[in-house]
């Protein structure tokens, strides 16, 4: 043990050089379990699924010119609504920021308590858990299901299986149905879906998500986590020895033995552990691993083995926590009589928390300070300039003004850099002060053509030009620069 601190006494598989690398999947029949972590999982399941299924129905009043759905991805109009925030396509970096935050939160969770995401929050886990619950409810617990699968199919078991698949499909269908509601007005779409008037694309997406939910949660299950998901690999590379993990405390558990035999051994002063080898931890595991073999890739750390073991320990009158959130380092320390080390606050967690705070602060600041008007200017490529009959030079520009307000606004455009230049606009008007005035509808953009004429005929082939747009009702300005070309 001392020379190989992280290897596990029982973990070493019989290594055979010629052993095949392929192992067929073993059907897993997780047993029902009650306990602290199971309750947490039920609560998380109810909250996450509740959010997913019902969020599109929450209303949020934005006035007459915008939809009143709290969360809406309006693909047709290129808008994303999130409660009080409205995001335009060119602001997609907010989504990037959100993804960065999500990744960092995942890293922080991992640094504190390992695969919390996998065990409690991941959709694959949540939906698989739900599907297992349905399976258990209809076909019975572990032993019943194993027995039924081994026996010949009877009318009753076939009926049960049919019912199970029907309910699975209903859940899967509802999952796809809820998905499309995020992309259109939810109550209207529900009505249209029910009366078969919804657009084909809605039905297609419901079909796709019904299929994926049904296959991923009903059939592929733990294989998604073990073979398809990249996170276990990344997680293994990101974790450190301080991160809490669902750990079998083999310092206390080994050597295993029956209750009575180990009592006798203990009385005799011989080594005897608390693990009675009842296999309950393996039976409840949704990925079919044996936690007593130590930290392993297939383990999603859902905590159900802790519940199962605690229940057994209660029954035989031994203290709970033979399997608990702990670290291999501490197991090792206890075996060698050293003090335990628990460090939630350490450079790694502080670093993650720090970047989360930083990215969050940047996003909130940029969101708070973001402009509700945009101005882009594009110089004509052909011709670069035009000579007019009086010899003055004119440049054409295409401007686009974006009005993110939910009411119609009037804007005034002026230029700086050419004192003698006149501005004219096609698709707007010029007021008495020589400003180009454009009117842009609520939540819209407007393209107009701006003609800048330099009566003093600038000598320089290229003069810097500043376009300044002012919101006539609020006084907000937006500016962008371009050039004035001359021969």
């Amino acid at each position: 043990m001392a020379d190989a601190p992280l290897s596990h006494p029982l973990g070493a598989a019989a290594s055979d050089e010629d052993a095949p690398l392929y192992a067929p999947r073993k059907q897993i029949y997780p047993q029902a379990v009650k306990g602290r972590y199971r309750t947490i999982k039920w609560v998380v399941l109810a909250i996450t699924l509740g959010i997913y299924y019902f969020l599109p129905f929450i209303r949020w009043d934005r006035g007459p010119n915008a939809p009143d759905q709290a969360i809406l991805v309006d693909l047709a109009n290129g808008r994303f609504y999130f409660f009080f925030i409205e995001i335009w396509p060119q602001e997609v970096y907010y989504l990037t920021g959100l993804l960065v935050l999500a990744a960092l939160a995942l890293f922080l969770m991992n640094a504190v308590a390992g695969r919390v995401w996998c065990g409690y929050l991941c959709p694959q886990t949540v939906w698989t858990d739900l599907f297992y619950a349905v399976e258990r409810w209809i076909e019975g617990d572990r032993r019943d299901r194993m027995r039924k699968d081994q026996q010949k199919l009877t009318l009753k078991t076939a009926g049960q299986k049919g019912l199970k698949h029907f309910i699975w499909l209903m859940i899967a269908w509802w999952t796809g149905g809820a998905w499309v509601l995020y992309f259109a007005d939810a109550p209207t779409l529900v009505y249209d879906l029910a009366t078969l008037q919804a657009p084909l694309v809605a039905y297609v997406w419901i079909g796709i998500l019904t299929f994926t939910t049904y296959t991923l949660a009903g059939f592929m299950r733990e294989q998604v986590c073990t073979y398809m998901c990249p996170w276990p690999r990344i997680q293994a590379a990101l974790t450190d020895e301080y991160a809490l993990n669902v750990t079998y405390r083999y310092d206390r558990g080994e050597p295993r033995g029956s209750v009575k035999k180990n009592e006798v051994l203990k009385l005799q002063g011989l080594p005897a552990g608390d693990c009675i080898d009842c296999n309950q931890c393996v039976n409840v595991c949704p990925t079919g691993v044996d936690i007593r073999k130590g930290l392993q890739l297939d383990c999603i750390q859902c905590g159900l083995c802790m519940d199962a073991c605690d229940n057994v320990m209660d029954k035989i009158g031994r203290p709970q926590g033979l399997i608990a959130y702990d670290t291999d380092m501490n197991v090792q320390a206890r075996m060698e009589g050293r003090p335990e080390v628990r460090r939630i606050v350490r450079p790694r967690t502080l670093f993650y928390a720090g970047i989360i705070a930083l990215v969050g602060a940047i996003m909130i600041t940029s969101l708070a300070l973001r402009q509700n008007i945009y101005l882009t200017v594009m110089h004509d490529r052909n011709p670069l300039f035009v000579r007019l009959s009086d010899g003055s030079i004119r440049n054409g520009f295409t401007i686009r003004v974006a009005n993110k307000h939910l009411d119609e606004r009037r804007y005034a455009l002026v230029i700086e850099g050419l004192p003698e230049a006149k501005i004219d606009i096609v698709g707007g008007e010029v007021d008495q002060q020589g400003r180009a005035i454009v009117t842009v509808g609520p939540d819209q953009t407007l393209e107009a053509r701006v003609l800048v004429t330099d009566t003093a005929s600038a000598a320089s082939p290229s003069t810097d030009l500043e376009f300044i747009l002012t919101d006539l009702s609020s006084g907000d300005t937006a500016a962008t620069s371009d050039h004035f070309r001359a021969p």
């Binding site: 010629d18 052993a19 095949p20 004509d380 490529r381 052909n382 011709p383 035009v386 000579r387 007019l388 009959s389 009086d390 010899g391 004119r394 054409g396 096609v426 698709g427 009117t439 407007l446 393209e447 053509r449 003609l451």
Partner: protein, 298 residues
């Protein structure tokens, strides 16, 4: 275990998997002779069957002067026509609005104006750009549509008339009026042409030779040119006679070019588009061209 295979390699059976090998070995790694997965194989057969059916149903095999048409009679050209008809249908609401509105009404309506300009720009690229350039910047002899000098007038109605019926075109409603070939047809002598060319340059403030006889040129101008180009060279839109006193020169402002014009005459042709483009397209083109710089100064 070794067996002689057809190519002489030794076929072996892999001890772990019990699968025969192909006899190929690279860096001591043996290639197992596993069969293709069945689903893969059947998909492969299915694609073969599909290709045969496809070749029967659709145009497929090139022949000497033609190709097999396929029993379904499908044609890519027809598919494009269907797509175009669909597009036309999609735009029909706006197209109908454009057709029913006057040019001024369209210009006042931001939505219609934007639609017309976009449609006009596309149509300009298809029909006008070869002569006037992609951005309407023109070329020698082909007017720049971005400036404020309009031979036949720059108002919406005038631009539309010019697009519709052209200038010196085959349409009898088109603009007419040509610059005569004063030199070639013997109306002016060589030195008279030289004098008047100098005088014309002076009208727009261009420098002339010290030896130039501007008074003689002015006399020649008054007798021969002023009728169309105006007594001060201000031009006349009815005849498409260019303004000679401004800074814009369709063919060039150097003396040789002016002399060439006086000798051989000028008369660029703008074709008639009436009957070749539909009314809405002409309207859209008018609004687009006008938005480039029309209506500034006559």
């Amino acid at each position: 275990m070794a067996q002689e295979t057809h190519n002489g390699a030794h076929e072996q059976v892999d001890a772990v998997t019990g699968v025969t090998t192909t006899g190929h070995t690279w860096d001591d790694i043996q290639e197992l002779n596993n069969p293709l997965p069945r689903w893969w194989l059947w998909t492969f057969y299915l694609t073969i069957a599909w290709s045969v059916l496809y070749a029967i149903a659709y145009p497929a095999i090139p022949m000497v002067s033609s190709y097999t048409k396929g029993v379904l009679g499908w044609q890519s050209r027809e598919a494009v026509e269907v797509d175009l008809a669909e597009l036309k249908q999609q735009r029909s609401g706006m197209t109908a609005k454009l057709a029913a509105s006057s040019l001024d009404e369209i210009k006042q309506d931001p939505e219609m104006f934007a639609f017309a300009r976009a449609q006009g720009k596309a149509s300009f690229g298809d029909n006008c750009a070869p002569c006037h350039g992609a951005g309407g910047a023109g070329a020698k002899g082909y007017p720049n549509l971005n400036d404020d000098d309009w031979l036949w007038g720059g108002s919406l109605a005038q631009v539309e008339h010019t697009i519709r019926y052209g200038a010196r075109s085959t349409s009898d409603k088109g603009h007419s009026g040509t610059m005569p070939a004063f030199g070639r047809d013997g109306m002016l002598k060589r030195e008279e042409i030289s004098h008047v060319a100098d005088y014309v340059r002076s009208l727009s403030g261009l420098p002339t030779d010290k030896t130039a006889d501007l008074n003689a040129g002015a006399n020649v101008y008054a007798d021969n040119c002023a009728a169309c180009h105006g007594d001060k060279g201000q031009g006349m839109q009815d005849l498409g006679a260019p303004n000679l006193s401004d800074k814009i020169w369709l063919f060039g402002s150097d003396k040789a070019t002016i002399v060439e014009g006086l000798n051989n005459g000028r008369g660029g042709v703008m074709p008639t588009w009436h009957g070749r483009l539909d009314d809405t397209t002409i309207k859209a083109l008018t609004l687009y061209v006008h938005s480039l710089g029309g209506d500034q100064r006559p």
